[in-house]
Amino acid sequence: MVRLITHNLLACHFRDVQIELREAEFNPEFLKGFMPKLEWKALVDAARQLGDTTLPLEVPEMLDDEFLKNLHHVLLEIHVEEGVMSCPNCKHDYPILNGIPNMLLAEHEIG
């Protein structure tokens, strides 16, 4: 896993990734409801980094079906199975193994 929806909610960057594509159930109501929570620029950048250019640079005014299908694919169907997530805030690299990122803080990063 590590889907782009998660990556967007954790505010990190990807590096050295291996990805897999897996289908997910399309739920337009869920996507529309979730839009306000997304960091749009970060999402578009991450998608492009992973090879998907279907999302517009700006949030469109009308959330039409085609847009929602693209958003669905980007948020939920691209899985980063191996790689690194790096956090610009705490400047730490978190390894992703078997789709699960290890985000435990090192000792000197706590407190």
């Binding site: 896993m1 990190c12 109501e29 000792e107």
Partner: protein
């Protein structure tokens, strides 16, 4: 039941007197606006065996028949030609065949003209006698026959179908589980308490082997899980254990992601994300409740050494395990409520188990965990004797934005009430004895 009603936006009316709404009794008369609502309850409520349209009740058959006649408009339409079948049964008792026949005959006044069909009748009429529990008393098979507390009568609407989910999610049949995995029936109840449904987002911050994820995703919700110990979620091999089990239940695609992190140092970018948080936090008994940090502060010299080691590059085969220290349960509980207030959408629910010591528990124990904007809406006990655990549901009633909780290392000042679950782990291993008690017996209930 209230949760399912809320989920499907219908109201249900419980009986007025407290003894009639006692959930330990086998039968309850509930007011619903529509037959559809009864079907929904039968299909989603785990503890509902069947739902009948109410025709009458009484403490004797005379009373029952009076009550049933009063409701004639409800069953009159079935008189002319509907095929039917009677069942006469009891709770905590077996009614002799001969009396069953007599009971059926006593309904002759209904004057049903349709055919009697044993196999596929158009309607099933059920008569239920409630007997009080006489476990442990030696008695002959039909002793006490006829001395029931209440008898109820009505028409079958639907047999409860959610009950079979308990079998489907049986932990022993699961391809991945551990000794802390929550039993199927309870994880199903918890999923219902979260109002899990398609389009909802649910989070388990102490995911472990994923028991809550399977049932909440079964009802359509998308689930995030995190845990300080990644091994619990991964298991051995590929795919990670939790995903392997989700695949078994057909909900793999609804497990959004699994992440390893300490919930008190969580990396969520913002709040108001989740419709529900559902979890069974570690009590410290079988699974150590841990958070990042050191038990004892390092000396200056050691601290310098450690920082040097940390900053020099490590080879891949030496994974870093940051030090952890124990996370005391009452502290964890308060933090969990604070975390939930931050991460839940307004109206969202926190559903979790809190272990408690039976002799010492007070309502205040749970009330004192709350912070502003969080309200308890349910609190039920699973009784193990000298201890128990409470399934608590808390709703976020506020829209206000609060600061992200910082999870202080020290117990916050101003907490004056010491709840029964404080230092639960220590109490558990001392057998819940108070200091001045003598050792005259053991606790008979074993925690599985």
């Amino acid at each position: 039941m209230h949760s399912i009603a809320e989920l499907h936006s219908f109201s249900l009316a419980l009986p007025e007197s407290p003894e009639d709404r006692d959930p330990t009794r086998p039968y309850m008369v509930v007011g619903l606006g529509h037959e559809e609502h009864a079907l929904i309850l039968a299909r989603r409520c785990i503890l509902v065996k069947s739902v009948y349209e109410f025709y009458g009740q009484g403490s004797t058959y005379d009373e029952l028949h009076v009550s049933t006649r009063i409701n004639e408009t409800k069953w009159a339409r079935y008189i002319p030609e509907t095929s039917f079948r009677f069942i006469v049964t009891a709770h905590n008792h077996k009614i002799p065949q001969s009396r069953q026949r007599a009971v059926i005959e006593s309904f002759a006044y209904m004057n049903l003209l349709g055919k009697i069909e044993m196999k596929n009748p158009q309607i099933v009429l059920g008569c239920f006698e409630e007997y009080t529990n006489r476990n442990g008393l030696v008695r002959s098979k039909h002793e006490g026959d006829g001395h029931f507390r209440q008898v109820y009568f009505g028409r079958l609407l639907e047999e409860g179908s959610a009950r079979q989910l308990v079998g489907k999610f049986d932990v022993k049949k699961r391809v991945y589980y551990g000794n802390t995995s929550m039993e199927a029936e309870i994880s199903l109840l918890m999923a219902n308490q979260t109002l899990a449904a398609p389009g909802k987002l649910v989070y388990d911050p102490f995911m472990g082997t994923g028991s809550m994820a399977y049932t909440t995703s079964h009802f359509g919700a998308l689930v995030f899980g995190s845990d300080i110990d990644g091994r619990q979620m991964r298991g051995k091999g590929t795919p990670p254990g939790v995903i392997h089990a989700a695949r078994q239940y057909g909900t793999e695609s609804r497990i959004l992601d699994l992440c390893t992190f300490d919930v008190t140092r969580n990396p969520w970018r913002c709040g108001s994300l989740f419709d529900a948080i559902v979890t069974d936090p570690p009590y410290g008994v079988r699974a150590g409740a841990k958070r990042l940090g050191r038990k004892k502060e390092l000396s200056e010299e050691k601290l310098k050494q450690m920082l040097e080691l940390r900053n020099s590059p490590r080879t891949d085969d030496q994974p870093y395990f940051p030090p952890t220290k124990p996370y005391e349960l009452s502290h964890l509980a308060v933090d969990l409520v604070l975390l939930a207030r931050h991460l839940l959408k307004p109206g969202g629910r926190l559903v979790f188990f809190l272990p408690t010591v039976t002799d010492e528990y007070e309502e205040l124990d749970v009330q004192s965990m709350l912070c502003e904007g969080m309200e308890i809406i349910a609190n039920s006990l699973q009784d193990f004797g000298s201890w128990g655990r409470r399934l608590v549901t808390i709703r976020k009633t506020t829209n206000r934005k609060y600061e992200r909780p910082s999870f202080e290392q020290e117990t916050p000042a101003g907490i004056t009430h010491i709840p029964a679950h404080k230092d639960f782990r220590e109490k558990y291993f001392q057998g819940f004895k108070k200091e001045d008690e003598t050792d005259d017996g053991n606790t008979s209930i074993k925690y599985k």
